[in-house]
Symmetry: C2
Subunit: 410 residues, 2 copies
């Protein structure tokens, strides 16, 4: 598949999309805090949201819209306040955000999705928000993708956006994306129709039916956002929204066809790249870890082991310290709840054998230490002869993570 | 029940027990690293060990002995090396530790339990161990309980030991205990006959049948060691051993009797006190948190919620920072996998209402902050009208925890 990465690409690269990012005044820091994404056409939409019981008000609003199966025109997004655990007033505030945006864009409130990220349990400062919506609408621009990516940041250290193009049905189609993390990251999102504060948005100008867009989104989750763990806390606000403007002129992409397979591949690449970027820019992260677990009876077993390791404070602090302490990885696998034969366990760091048959493989410690020096670390854990496998993207636990989250509020 | 706490009590307070703690040379720091606990009589024994798949070699040895149902005479313990993930050589080394101890004590190898704690995956330096056993046997003393408590420490900052007495059947009986943490602490031990590196030992001079001692130990786990979480990592070596010398002269304690109920109460107090002490001295701990979860459909549901919160890096760093950020607690409950009505959730810090009906209870933030100043924090989370309940003892996550575990090896 001929996928081209477009320099400086963003959610406004695909035809039909404009965006903006502005300073409404929600953050004490004075950084940009509201973003708007607008589609000139009724956009086909698919989305996935948090599985947290405390789904935030904007997530509840969005789910209603997704359940209607209708097209949408815009997404209004704020950082600095999660609008979660805010009761009926929170729901009313989310609705008012959509209504105000709709009014100014001359569309219907039910065509406007809402996303929020920030502190939980604080009422939304609606006058500030309403004023911000006006500013965001005025600032809409076909060059606004990068500004939007900047405005959705919380503890992120850099804006995360990209775009790619590929050929489908003889036409060039584009996909753009943006995302933010960078704490409370262990998304377990469910595709909707059926909350991290991770927010991710993917735009495309491809002509595509809703069922196909939904299938692509649902298919990619376990290979992108649902395979990342920064700290292991799953947010009340996790949101991943995909919008299609249908302007590329390609024959409509139908679920199950070869064109759909190609589109899904491109979609998965964009979602995967955004998810990796989110971990690389996770709170206090100094090492990105790709952990492949395999040889279990089922993929679910491999996932359970991978998640236990990715959540283990002892494994994460060892990665921070550059300590090859493989016993912590085996111990985490051993308490994951998955049964396996400890004498059949092999472990590699960067293709260097560390454990064979559940015991030290004999690689000198000086060589083991070298494998953990890179910003990206690849760990391969084989638990037996089974066919189950799962890959997780995770990171270390540093002083900086503690600092960010002990001082978040004050 | 008339329970008396004995000043400077330890495992050698009950009649029949001697102990020692010596420097064998296993630790670079030069601190004491081997302990021996000896009973002048064949001791009735009950024990619980880790549920980790990678049960350490000494745990495997001890399980065999427990399975025999016979009495024991001694426990030989080393810190500085876990003898875990060490294969057949590890098992042979554990057996040799028991054999050497037995030889010097003139008992049978099958009467000697073995415990190890320290780094995983490193072969045991048997010459150092053998020499240490000789020193430990020579140093046995009826005053040795405190030395033993000191020698089993790893990252602990203080020795943890105590003793109590009570009246049963007209006689004064004694219970003594010692324990060590203080990282890789989330014990999920199973009573044996069916591994933290938490190690805990309880001695008593009560006359008691094995079935009664076993029942007391099994009953107390969920109210002591299995309700504590320091970092959420469950070790390969967790061990809790109870030994009875039968020297107190009381009528034998039979399972199911009033005497047994009284003894269990005393047993639970000692185990509970040791478990609390372990959390208070957990790695980098600045706040001890007692978290009561109730109002769920079942105790298991309450436990699942309590464990999610106790493992949450965001909750733990907020406690470290003294940040009342209750949204993190609700979010952790919300992703625990337990279903409940978010609008029925109440949260108190130190009996001060923080959340009512899933929303901010209106207590001024300055008052909320005051509730988090103490070294011990009491948090009460009610999730609904159900009868399920579980109390967990946990702690904060500090810079010091990261430092200890990033630098553990180097």
């Amino acid at each position: 598949m001929n996928l081209r990465v477009l320099e400086n690409g963003s959610v406004t690269t695909p035809a039909g999309f404009t965006a903006s990012g502005i300073k409404a005044g929600l953050k004490k820091s004075g950084q940009p805090d509201m973003a708007l994404l607008f589609c000139s056409q009724p956009a086909v939409v698919a989305a996935a949201f948090t599985s947290n019981v405390f789904a935030a008000a904007p997530v509840q609003w969005d789910r209603q819209i997704l359940a209607s199966g209708k097209t949408v025109r815009a997404v209004i997004i704020n950082s600095g306040n999660a609008n979660a655990c805010t009761g009926k007033q929170g729901l009313e505030d989310a609705r008012r955000m959509a209504a105000k945006t709709a009014e100014l864009l001359k569309v219907q409130p039910e065509e406007v999705l809402v996303s929020s990220t920030g502190r939980i349990g604080v009422p939304m400062p609606m006058p500030v928000i309403q004023n911000g919506i006006q500013m965001a609408v005025r600032a809409l621009s076909s060059e606004g993708g990068k500004d939007a990516a900047k405005a959705i940041m919380t503890t992120d250290t850099r804006a995360k956006h990209l775009a790619v193009s590929c050929e489908i049905g003889g036409k060039t189609i584009h996909l753009g994306g943006m995302t933010k993390g960078s704490g409370m990251i262990a998304p377990q999102m469910l595709p909707c129709p059926p909350q991290a504060t991770m927010l991710a948005y993917l735009t495309t100008d491809a002509v595509i039916e809703q069922a196909a867009l939904h299938a692509c989104l649902a298919d990619c989750l376990d290979q992108s956002f649902n395979r990342i763990i920064v700290d292991g806390d799953t947010s009340t606000n996790d949101t991943f929204i995909a919008l299609a403007s249908n302007l590329a002129g390609n024959p409509v992409i139908i679920k199950g066809t070869e064109d759909c397979r190609k589109f899904c591949l491109a979609f998965r690449q964009v979602a995967g790249a955004l998810a990796r970027e989110m971990v690389l820019d996770g709170e206090g992260v100094t090492h990105f870890v790709e952990l492949q677990v395999h040889g279990t009876e089922s993929d679910a077993d491999a996932r359970r082991v991978a998640e236990a390791i990715a959540r283990s404070p002892l494994c994460k602090t060892a990665w921070f310290g550059g300590d090859p302490n493989w016993g912590r990885i085996l111990a985490a696998a051993g308490y994951s709840g998955v049964q396996f034969n400890p004498d059949e366990v092999d472990l590699d760091y960067e293709d260097i054998p560390i454990v064979r048959g559940g015991r030290d493989a004999g690689t000198p410690e000086s060589e083991q230490v070298q494998t953990l020096k890179g910003r990206e670390i690849h760990i391969n854990l084989k638990l037996g002869p089974g066919q189950g496998a799962f890959t997780i993207w995770t990171c270390d636990l540093s002083y900086e993570y503690v600092k960010i989250n002990a001082d978040y509020h004050t």
